[in-house]
Symmetry: C2
Subunit: 148 residues, 2 copies
DNA sequence: AACATTGCTTTCAAAATGATAGTAACACTT
DNA sequence: AAGTGTTACTATCATTTTGAAAGCAATGTT
């Protein structure tokens, strides 16, 4: 994609999107966070063609966001559960949802709540160092030297 | 996609992904945040086919993330600049980058810095209400009644 | 007048997607 | 024991999307 030089794309956004840059993968991850684990649950929830679902689940598994777990030996049946990497993807999904909520929020909308307090979540991204919201201070994308 | 009922998909994540759920759109937005505005800048930066770029820029413009601005009358030339909605998409990109940084961080990596302090940004998503990091407390996705 | 620049469009082959049907391995029911 | 149901797929094929390459229109530059 961006291979003007010999090393892999140095942008962490591009690296992530290289295999997660499609709607289905992200919706599968969303459903996984909601608690779905099985092929047919994903298929019914998403209305996705089984061919595509097979491929997406395989990619997500290969890339370490999901992992297969045998939940029945006879008949052999596997389910897909989130790994640590998959669980750590939640902030991305939540921020996508926050944007959608703000800019595509007409009509009835799913809301994300804190289970304990029952209150709606109000997600914001901050810089942990300065404590300020992302977007309030100018940022810079810095390319390192690349001698791979 | 998820039209088991008559109303539009109530999930704000799905709504966002409905038109932003592809790699190119997100990379264009990334480049727009870096400061690119012109067709050829995007094309060269991304190595994208002009056909696709035309379509993606049109969608991003229609959806209100970019807007066309005439920067030369003769010859008539337009550039694409981020709108408020487009600027507010930065947290999503930054969180995607943070995930990529953590889980796909081998080799040289672009880092995001605070321009003023020069320090690397450490992006985290928090719930503004409770102040806690997203992912540390159990969440729930709540479907509202839908009588559209 | 010839060439360069910018922002596209046209064309067409290749790849991805989606819909539908079918299959494998079992369990369960009668 | 035969038939039916469940789950997780695979096979097939038409449609859609993508990508590569070339072309073009409206200028500015030399």
């Amino acid at each position: 994609m961006n291979d003007k030089n010999s090393c892999a794309d140095p942008c962490p956004i591009a690296r992530c999107l290289a295999f997660l840059g499609d709607t289905w993968s992200l919706l599968i991850l969303r459903d996984a966070h909601i608690g779905l684990t099985r092929f047919d649950q994903f298929r019914k929830s998403l209305g996705i063609a089984p061919t595509i679902l097979t491929r997406r689940l395989a990619t997500l598994t290969e890339e370490g966001l999901l992992e297969k777990r045998l939940y029945s030996e006879r008949p052999p049946r596997e389910e897909y559960v989130l790994t640590a990497a998959g669980r750590d993807f939640l902030p991305v999904l939540v921020m996508i949802g926050a944007w959608g909520h703000q800019y595509r929020g007409e009509g009835p909308l799913v809301r994300i709540q804190d289970v304990e307090t029952g209150a709606d979540i109000k997600p914001v991204a901050i810089d942990e160092i300065t404590g300020t919201k992302i977007g309030t201070r100018p940022l810079r994308f810095v390319l390192p030297d690349c001698d791979d």
